[in-house]
């Protein structure tokens, strides 16, 4: 009984862990699905009851680890508002797609520190459906014809001190875009809404 009781309670740390892990897998899935990196550089991994593809490219891995670990810290402080995966043309710098993950934080936990009651299984189910949608969204997104690269934007509180390796940037809007809202999941501490905006094709 004790074991199940602890599994159903979500602490801030646990929630942070779950959300950052989701980000990692979500970004990897997007990169694979949108063909930003060649498919042979990805390897299969079982997670959330799905077979997900994770990169084996060392440079990319290092970059993702760097960003995710930093985002994890900010999630714990509850200063993250959005995480955006921007896909843009390397030559023209035109933004083609924006995968936006809105993070709503229940800041009351910072004062009371109580864990929330929700089973990990349920959360995993929700995450699973979000990832499925990401995979399925390839069907309606336009084909990326030119060479593209991606960037990760983080929307944070204005007064947050950031390390030197991070710099301020613009929101990287898409001119003439179409938006689709995807599913969301919540750990009762962090609520993550997923959406994708893409350049309208004529």
């Amino acid at each position: 009984m004790a074991a199940t009781a602890t599994q159903n309670a979500i602490t801030l740390k646990g929630s942070t862990e779950i959300v950052s892990e989701f980000f990692s897998f979500g970004i990897n899935s997007i990169l694979y699905q949108r063909g930003i990196y060649p498919p042979e550089t990805f390897t299969r991994q079982q997670k959330y009851g799905l077979t997900l593809l994770v990169t084996t490219d060392d440079a990319l891995k290092n970059y993702l680890n760097e960003v995710i670990s930093q985002v994890k810290e900010w999630l714990q402080q509850m200063t993250v508002k959005k995480l955006v995966v921007v896909i843009k043309d390397i030559d023209t710098k035109e933004v083609f797609e924006r995968w936006q993950f809105d993070v709503e934080c229940d800041k009351s936990v910072l004062s009371d520190g109580k864990p929330r009651e929700k089973s990990e299984k349920e959360i995993n189910k929700e995450i699973c459906s979000v990832l499925r949608q990401i995979t399925a969204s390839v069907t309606f997104l336009p084909l990326l014809e030119s060479a593209c690269a991606f960037d990760l934007l983080v929307y944070t509180d204005k007064d947050l001190e950031v390390p030197d390796s991070w710099g301020e940037d613009g929101p990287q809007f898409i001119a003439n875009s179409e938006e689709v809202r995807l599913r969301s999941f919540t750990t009762l501490l962090h609520k993550v809404d997923a959406m994708v905006a893409y350049k309208k094709t004529d």
Binding site: Y63, K93, Q100, F150, T156, D157
Partner: protein
Amino acid sequence: MNDNTAVIRMKRDFDKFISGQSGRLDLSQSVGSDDSSFMNITSGTALSVKSMLEKEKDSMLKDAELSAARGTIAKLEAEISTLKTSNKRARIEFEKDLGCFKDGKDRESDKIKELKSQIQFLSSREKYAREELEEYKKIKDNSRSDYETKIMELKKGNMKLQDEVQKTRQTLSEKTTEFRSELLKSQSSLQRNINDLEESQTQLKLQQRRVSELTTEISELEEHRTRANLLEQQLKELDTKCTRMEEDTIVTKAMKTQLTLFPDIEKEVKKLREQNAQLREIQENNMLLKEKAESLERKLERAEKIYTDAAHLDTENLALKSKLQKWEQVEKDGKSPSQLAKRLTCLQESEAVMLERQGQLQSRIHSLEEHLNSSQQKLEKSITELQKEKSKVEQNADLIKRLQRKLLFVTKERDGFKNILDSYESEMTVNVAKHATSRIQHLEDTIDNYRKQVDQLEGDLQKAYSQNGAQRMDNPQIYVPVVPAQSEVDKKTILKLRERISVLEKEIEKSEEQRYILETRIEQRHLQGDYDPTKTKVIHFEMNPVAMAAKQRAAELQRLREENETLKERIRVLEESGGQAMDVTEQVQKRLQEPSSSKEVDEMKAQLTKEELKNKRLMEAFSKKSQEFREVCYQLTGYKIDFHYTNQYKVTSMYAESRDDFFVFQQGEKNDMQLLSTDFTENLEETIDLYLSKHKSIPAFLSSVTLDLFKTQTFKV
């Protein structure tokens, strides 16, 4: 020549030396026999030059040897001294050693003494030991003889014992045989015993069997006992039964007596059955008779009716007869039946007329009734309409109230919308969501208000209805005429209010639409990634893949450009050499390094334009400056100097009377200035002679000219 004299001189010197040396050499005679012999040889050979030379040589050698010997002597002496010291040291050491050895020797001698004493002691011990040994030997010999004798004795004993053993063996064998026989006996007895035992066992078994049989018998006996008990019980039962049976026999006897009566009874039964059948038949007859009786009764009733009818008819007949008699009497009064018939016809006609009238009247009555009914219906209708109107009026009054309240709310709402719209317009991006939420709250408040109002109104309505009903019940007549007066005023107001409501509703719809549009726009903006720059900021990791890719791209582009350049150059080289060039790459490299490459040319051009620009600016600055300078010169000296031709300078005075009054100076090869003749110089020959020809001073000449001109000008003024 010099050499010869030198040799002679040397000889003389040597002779002198020898003569001087001879005395000294005596001292060395004691040194050794070799030296003395050497001296003899030198004295012997002193005569001839050769011998002299040899001597000289020898003496030189000797000297050398001597000095060497002296050295060796000194060395040896030193060695001797060292050896002496070492010897002394050695002696001292030796003495020391000697002392040591002496001590050692003393110790050794002491030791030897000790050892000698020990040897003596040991020899004495040896002797003593030998004596002991001999003694022991003797003892041993004695003991040996003793032992031998003992052995002999023992052998004898042994023999005896062996005999005894044999004897005992024999006895033993005998005994064993005896024992064996005994054993056999005992075995046989044992077997017997065993047999006995077996028998007894069998007997025991038999006994046991018997016991078991007995036990079984006992059990059987017990069973029998129980059975006996049972049987006794049965017996008792049977006794009781017997008694019963006896009783029964008495009964049966009685029954038998009854049985004797049975055939009689059967007969009786038969009789009774017959009787029964007869009775049934009688019953059926009876039924028939009853039916007949009933039919007869009916007939009787009919007959009675007929009878009463007959009585009636009789009475009627009597009455009619009396009537007839009366009628007959009337006829008898004097009127004939024709008159009667006439009268009858008249009466009949009048009757017909009367009937007609009656019909007309009846139809009239009907029509009137119908009219009445219709008018009544109309009345009812009008009453219901009236009621309806009343209710309408009431409703309208309520509506007015409601609408007025609604109007208030709507105006409020409209103001709210206007505010929101203004805020939207003013702050399109910032805090839109907040406004929307505030607006939604506002709307919710108004809805609540509406609900309250509706509740109130419903309450009012019910009250009004109940009151109304009561009033109508009290005074239905008073209520009616009031209605139309109110209704006309109300109608107008209602109409107005309705119009206003419709207008306001339209406005609400519009604002709702706008709100919806704005909300969707906000949602879209949110989806597009819009954010509040006052609260949030967007950051990204600077070494992100896009930046890296861009950098790589740029590097690649640069590389490709360079490659393109080399390839172009290569093509050019190939074209120039007609495709036969050897070492194309080398040439290309050379060419690329040369400044003729387009890139460098471009660079140079750019530099050139830059330089030109610079130059131009400099020129401008310079011309400006020179202008200033010339102006200053003109102001200070009173002469304006211009370029006339190459190396010719036109000098014009400030005070010149005309434009043509100027000097022209030419600069010679050695920087000397020469005045060239002009129209103006022709008038100034005196001053030229004075200043230029005599003193060769151009400044003086020029200043005199300025003074002259100044004077003439001032005089003129």
